[in-house]
Structure formats: structure tokens, C-alpha cells
Amino acid sequence: MSATAKAGRVEAVRTEAAAEDVAIFSAYTITATFWLLFTTAVGLLLSFKFPYPDWATSPLLSFGRLRAIHTNGTFYGWATIALVGSSLYVAARASGVALVAKRWAWIGLWCFNAAAVLGTITLDAGLNYGDQEYREWIWPVKLVFLAGLFFSGGAIVRTVAARAEREIYISNWYTIGGFVFTIILSFVALIPNYQTGLGQVGVQGFFMHNAVGMWFTFLALGVTYYALPKLLNRPIYSYALGVLGFWTNLVFYPVIGAHHFEFSPLPWWFQTLAIVFSVGMLVPVWAGSANFFLTMRGHGETIRRSYALPFIVVGVAYYFLGSTQGTVEAFRTLQSIWHFTNFTIGHSHATMYGFITFIAWGAIYALLPAATGKRPHLLATGLHFWLATVGVTFYVLVLSVGGTLQGLDWAAGNPFIASVDAAAPYWVARAVAGSMMFLAHVIFAYNVWVMTFGPPPETMRHTTLPAPEVART
């Protein structure tokens, strides 16, 4: 066999391997997008139940059951599947190889989706593990999700272990860390026989915060450390700041969970420790966001012309703002007003939506067109960006004001219903903001279709779209 033929065959095998990686990335993105649409439709329905409580009063559409479907579905259906899909792609790209354990990546995808389907059905039937935020799924469903973590995380680890580069790129530190922490966390949350009564409250404080900050934060930072330098065609400002962020987030974050139960019967020193470490969280948050902003500095024109970069800019801005807000919220004086109010719902959307969801979108718009060779629709991307950005900003603002009014009403000693009346107009405004966000998701779904099943790039050559600036590897 001639050397050229041999090289050709090697090249063909390599292309085939790369093609399956693209299929895996696409499949993760498509199913994640389904969960985004479904669970935010549920969220929108819930937001209209505040002004119209007598609307849709069947058990399957009741507030108490749908709320957990909204939160768990956005967490474990949308954000998890979207970020794991991007992380798999990044793991291979940043390692200079194709995905090693492709079958494991597919099994992981099936497990995540099966868990989200089963979780949705069981929650709607009224089956849950207590009204404990983000761990409402019953244990068999959690086991399916845990299997998803094991297989998709295993695919990433095996790919990074087989890398062509000498060093493990910082993105993969964050991704692998996120999987290790979350698998440990799942066991802590799952094992039932050591947590009863107030003990369960202690575990819940630990779990609910770690599920966000040791999973979504790590995956989102991981893909940002890859996508941002790629899109800007320059190295990350400081590798050392990235490493500092990794270790400080790892050490500080697990201690802050009890700030969800301030003024509760949890030991006072335990709550104080959580507040102190909430301040410590400013180190990784400011290190990470400064690192990203300094990488972007002087590239305004590139950002303006990009599909993906504006999403990452908003994501990093909300990472900085939302997390700093979290620190401020933990102080006892402010917590005494804001705790239990809708201010906290605003905060959770600033972080899980403004930060996590925008980074997931930025990663998809950065990496998927490069993978499939199909660009998103320009006008649709612009509409998606502005509806989502204005929507979430309005959402956070109105609930922050409405929540503050609730807290002030209670502190003033007014009858409870006064706080309901005070918040009512802000709940209507929230439903308006939610409608904008949902519309943005429909447009995003259209773009995902264009980037995957849409017409092949040949037919797009004749359009007048400006040259795409997408990640090249």
C-alpha cells in the first residue's frame, strides 16, 4: 500500500471519528433545547398563576407540583445536558484528539434524558423526596441521573487521559472537577439513613448550594475558558488566575450552604462560618470574571460582530453581579429583610439564567457552527440575544424591588396580606419578563435547528450574511 493511500485512510478514519463527535454534540444540544422549551413553558405558566391563582387548577397543573418540574428540569434537563454536550466537545478539542469513549457519551445522554423524563412524570404525580430544592427527584430517578454523570464524565476523563497535548488545559480541570464534586455530592444527598429532622436541613443547605456552585459554575467556567480565547483568537489573560479560581472555589464554596438557613435553629457559629466564606467567594468570582474581562479588553469590535461573544459577555457580567449579590445577601442585616422574599428568586435567575444559561448559549453559538459548518440565522440570533438579555434583566429588577417591598412590609409589622398586595404588580411584571425570555428560547430552538438539521452550508454561500467568526480549531 502506498504511503498516500495509507495517509488517506487514516484521514478518513479521523474524519469519521470527528463526525461522530459532532453528532454527539448536536444530540446533547438538541435534547437540552427541548428541555429548555418545556421547562420554561412550565415556568411561564407558573408566573401567570400569581396574578391568576384560579387558572388551571387541576392537580397535574398545580403550582406545588410544577414548580419542582421547572427547577429540576432547567437544572438537570436544560443546563446539565447543554453544558455536558459542550464540555465533551471541548474535552476532545482542547486535548487535540477525537472523543475516546463515544459510547459512554451516548449512554450518558440517554441517562440524563431518561432521568429528566422520569423526574417530570413522578413529580407531576406528586412523588418527591420532600420539598427540598433541587433534590426533589425520588431516588431511582437520581440513580439514573448519577449513571449519566458517571458515563459522560467517564468519557471526558478517558478523552483527556488520551490527549495529544502535554498539559491538561484549564477548561478540562474545571470540567473534570465538576464531575468529581457532583458525583460525591450526589452520594451525600442520596444516602437517606443519616439525615432526619434538622440534620436533613443541614444536609440540604450543603446540597442545594453545592449542586449549583460545584456543578454548573465549574462546567460553565470550563467552556468559557475554551470558547473565549478561541473566539477572540488570543490566549486567556492569566492561566494562574484560572488555577487560583479553581482551588479557591473548591475550598470556599462547600462551606457557604448554611447561609440559606440563617436565623434557623442550625448552630449559630455554623451560620456565621457560612457568611464568612460567602465573603471569601469574592476571590474566585472576581478572579474569574476579571480574567475573562481582561481577555476581552480592547476587542469591542470583535465582540460586536460575533454571534457568540455577546452571550459570553452577558454571562460573565452576571457571574460577577449575581455572585457578588449572593455575598451581599448573606450578611445578616440584609438577610433579615430579603430572606424568604422573592428577592431570592431574582437572585437565582441572575445566576442560573444570566450566568449559566447565557454561557451555555455562548458555548453553543461558538462551537456548534464550527462543528457542523452551519451558521445560525443572524437576525434570529440578535433577537434571541436582546429578548433574553432585556428579559432576564427586567426579571431580576422587578423581583428585587417586589421582594424588598415584601421584606419591608413584614419588618413594619403589617398584616401578611399587605406583603402579597405590595408584590402583586411586580409579579405581573415578572410574567411579562418571563414571556420575553420564553420567546427568546423559541428563537434559539429555531437556530439550533438551523445549526444541525438546517440546509447545508453550500446553499448559504449565496446569501449576503457577513463572514462568520466562529471558533476554528
Binding site: 398563576k49 391563582p53 384560579d54 387548577t57 398545580s62 403550582f63 406545588g64 407540583r65 414548580r67 419542582a68 406528586g126 418527591n128 423526596y129 420532600g130 420539598d131 427540598q132 476523563v157 483527556v160 498539559e167 491538561i168 480541570w173 473534570i176 472537577g177 468529581v180 464534586f181 451525600v188 443519616y194 439525615q195 432526619t196 429532622g197 434538622l198 440534620g199 436533613q200 436541613v201 443541614g202 444536609v203 450543603f206 460545584m214 488555577v243 473548591l250 475550598v251 462547600p254 450552604g257 440559606h260 438557613f261 436565623f263 434557623s264 435553629p265 442550625l266 449559630w268 455554623f270 433579615s336 424568604f340 422573592n342 413584614w410 419588618a411 409589622g413 401578611f416 402579597v420 402583586a424
Partner: protein, 194 residues
């Protein structure tokens, strides 16, 4: 960079050791210690019916709007005395909650002792609190054309009665109300809560 951390297994081991340690210290040990706090003196475990009612409370997600956590703050004292650790000895799954779209229910059995009020309120909250945004729970009741023997009719005010008959309680609504009525704080002996 750190050469050792460029072995993927070292990275996994280091992450797992640091996080595993923190998970034990901040999650598991507090869980074990606080699970063994003795009940507040005089606190009674739930009866079978109350426990079934509590399951309905959990399954319908009542805790997404109602706390069971009276804080040692002036604005919370309207709901009862500040909660203490022993108050939760029989409360699994825990229902302290993070959200108060409706009032705290720690002591609701003492604050709203009327069984009839509870039934009317679960059928249609706006029949008793005009501006309430609480959902209705009609599936915890039956609507019958005529009340049979042994049926407990919910005395709804005019305007909230179904046109086709009367609303009667079911075992589910009775269990739930029995649970709500059992939510009564026991007085503390030996000084105020910490």
C-alpha cells in the same frame, strides 16, 4: 504549571480528596449530629392520620410558599416563638423552606384553630382571604348532588358554592387538616431559645 496536576488521575484524586473532606465536614457530620437532637420537651410524634396529611403537604409542594421556621426576629414573632432545634425531631422530610409567599405555618394549629375555616380555605382560599394568591385544592374534595349519611359538608359562603351540588371532605382533606391542626408549638421551659 504544576506538573503533577497534568496527570488526569492526580487531578481527580486531589479534587476528590479535598472535596470529599469538605463534604464530610460540612455535609455528613452536621447531618449526623443534628439528626440526633432530642425532641423539645412535650413535643408529640404525629399520629397516623397526621402523618398521612403531612405526606399530602409534601407531595403538593406546600413548602414552596410556606415556611415552618420562626426566626428570632421581631417580624416573625407574630407566627409564634422562635423555633428551636428540638422542634424538628419528628419532621422528616424537613419543611423549613426558603420561601414565604404565604404565612409561616409553624404554629398554624394554634393561630387558626377552626377546622371549618381550613376546609373552606383549601377548597377556595379567596372565599376567606380576598387577595390570597394560594392555589385551590379541589381534588382533595368531592362534589356531590346531595350529601350522603356520614358526609362532612363544607359550608361555603354564597358565591363559592358549586352550582351542581355540595362540597364534601375526603380522607385526604381531613388528613391534611388534621396535620395543619397538629402544627402547634410546645412552650419552652428553662428560658428563651438561643
Amino acid at each position: 504549571m504544576n506538573r503533577g496536576m497534568n496527570n488526569v488521575w492526580s487531578l481527580i484524586a486531589a479534587s476528590a480528596i479535598v472535596y470529599g473532606f469538605l463534604a464530610i465536614v460540612m455535609g455528613v457530620i452536621p447531618g449526623v449530629v443534628m439528626s440526633n437532637i432530642p425532641p423539645t420537651e412535650g413535643l408529640k410524634p404525629f399520629t397516623a392520620a397526621q402523618a398521612r396529611g403531612r405526606e399530602i403537604y409534601v407531595s403538593e409542594g406546600c413548602a414552596y410558599c410556606h415556611t415552618q421556621n420562626v426566626r428570632p426576629l421581631q417580624q416573625d414573632l407574630v407566627f409564634g416563638r422562635p423555633s428551636v432545634a428540638g422542634d424538628y425531631a419528628y419532621s422528616t422530610p424537613e419543611l423549613l423552606s426558603d420561601h414565604r409567599n404565604g404565612p409561616d405555618l409553624t404554629n398554624i394549629g394554634a393561630r387558626q384553630p377552626s377546622t371549618t375555616w381550613q376546609f373552606i380555605h383549601l377548597w377556595e382560599p379567596r372565599a376567606v382571604v380576598h387577595d390570597s394568591i394560594m392555589p385551590r385544592y379541589p381534588w382533595l374534595f368531592d362534589v356531590k348532588s346531595h350529601a350522603g349519611p356520614g358526609d362532612e359538608v363544607v359550608p361555603l359562603p354564597p358565591g363559592f358554592r358549586p352550582s351542581n351540588g355540595v362540597v364534601v371532605t375526603t380522607e385526604q382533606s381531613r388528613d391534611l387538616v388534621m396535620y395543619l391542626e397538629a402544627l402547634k408549638q410546645v412552650p419552652l421551659r428553662g428560658g428563651p431559645a438561643k
